[in-house]
Amino acid sequence: MAQGDFPLLVERSAPGRIGAAVPQSDVPEVPLEQILPSAQLRGGPPPLPEVSEPDLVRHYTQLSQRNYAVDIGFYPLGSCTMKYNPKINEDAARLPGFARLHPYAPDALAQGALRLLSELETALAEISGMDGMTFQPAAGAHGELTALLMIRTYFADRGEARTRVIVPDSAHGTNPASARMCGYDVVQVRSDARGNIDADVLRQVADERAAALMLTNPNTLGLFEERITEVEEIMHGCGAQIYLDGANFNAVLGITRPGDQGFDVMHMNLHKTFSTPHGGGGPGAGPVAVKSHLLPYLPVPVVVREGERFRLDYDRPQSIGKIRSFYGNFGVLVRAYTYIRTFGPLLRQIAEAAVLNANYLLALLRPAFDLPYDRHCMHEFVLAGTRQQREHGVTTRDMAKRLLDYGYHAPTIYFPLIVEEAMMIEPTETESRETIEAFARGLLAIAEECRTNPDVVRSAPHTTVVSRLDEVTAARRPDLHWPIADY
């Protein structure tokens, strides 16, 4: 450890320390070799760190202070919907009847959990305009795969050998990756001058080879697909299915429903739209909702309501099978359920405030930055740092790093790929006018610094616990764990 380095856990370790009371055996003592063959036994304990409880608490508390989070400040990471994560949701998820319930507990002992799942399904079906869903996918990308597997099986049952999935060039990287994992070829369609998928190009590739179009709406430019009804006609006209990547569902809650737009299947990111915490990258939950013609293909089991009784139904011969063990990220579902209950029909206000906040922030920032698509945005918008790069040699990455010095997390950068020097900003509905104005002042000040003092931006950040890290050497000579002693 060099001077100034924050210690690794293993550097706080000393032989003989322990951070937990260890269990004792209360059954009659038998030599271990009579229980397990000695050839199968590990030579000694695994060389894990040995740290006392107080040191352990300080280690992780100090690590937490070397982090940034929604509870600390503004987190305008576009397409990630970093909204406030309500505390009551956490209390709900930690109720022992939920947190301590075994997944193979018989249905009779899981009536509360199954009721919650059933009511959540009813609520999300109403919000999305779909007919039913699975909670099994653990994240959005997992939901994409699940949906494509269902589509593939649906066409196989109809004797149609469709081999292609169409995605716009503004799509999340997960879309083409999921399509490949389902054995589909990927066809990319460009966006038009207004930021919509180019319907004329789409028309040319929409044929009997197309299984599905994967569309994000509002799309990753933060724009609603203006020609959505035409897109729907084109795709259904060639017999294909339309999939909604629901990453941006927050913008339209209660305003428009994917089911009414003609989507056959969609995933929702409960960790975006429905306020469940991102946990530093997970867990999430990516329920997949479908129209009735796809219901038979949902993964097993599904929750069935019979009067006031609930049960898990595995007897579904057309199902694609299982995509994950058990029933999905139940703890996340409890939080999303709680969130929906705290709004009820007022969910619509989330979309209204999110869209208002985004347009306000856009209005404050537009004088200083290039705006590739000049329309009212939905819940997020994409700026281009091209002016700063061209005139002052300062990249979007530099400006993002400089924002850290101002105490903010940076927006999503260099995505979508179709916008040069992209900066994708999503304020969400849980930010106040004051916060948005303060952030705008910060980013405008950075734009000014690009002119007056570009070096301070190029070498940012200056106030974080470490400065820019050498990612090149890290990738050339990967060091992915601390040195491990032999055992």
Partner: protein, 128 residues
């Protein structure tokens, strides 16, 4: 920047004829566009490559590209140093940063490749 005696592909590889064999690498333009190369995946000696088909993969921190063979043939040599020191591709793309030596199977294929002048025009390089 783009030596006259080399042959070039549209995918930014170069080929140099050496006693009936062909040495292969990527151009300075490609190396600069990728920025710092962190990893390269090359075929084993003895395997075959086909003209303008991928023979390997090159990665920087934020980007990844396929490498395309300028000619068809059998791989005679692979630069043994690159696995440990991929940075040579940035430092010396036409020298120590070479990737393969290919036993050429069809010399006529060389006609398909570009001259230095043509390559410079492709990348819009003003340098004469």
């Amino acid at each position: 920047m783009y030596p006259e005696h080399l042959h070039y592909t549209r995918e930014h590889e170069w080929a140099r004829i050496e006693n009936g064999r062909v040495r292969v690498g990527i151009t300075q333009f490609a190396a600069e566009r990728l920025s710092d190369v962190v990893f390269i995946e090359l075929p084993a000696p003895g395997s075959t490559v086909k003209q303008l088909q991928p023979f390997g993969v090159i990665e920087s921190v934020k980007a990844v590209s396929d490498l395309y063979a300028p000619v068809s043939g059998t791989v005679a040599e692979v630069n043994p140093v690159l696995a440990e020191r991929p940075e040579l591709i940035n430092k010396d793309p036409y020298g120590d940063g070479w990737m393969l030596v290919v036993e050429l199977s069809n010399p006529a294929e060389l006609q398909e490749l570009m001259s230095a002048d043509e390559y410079r025009r492709l990348i819009g390089d003003g340098e004469a």
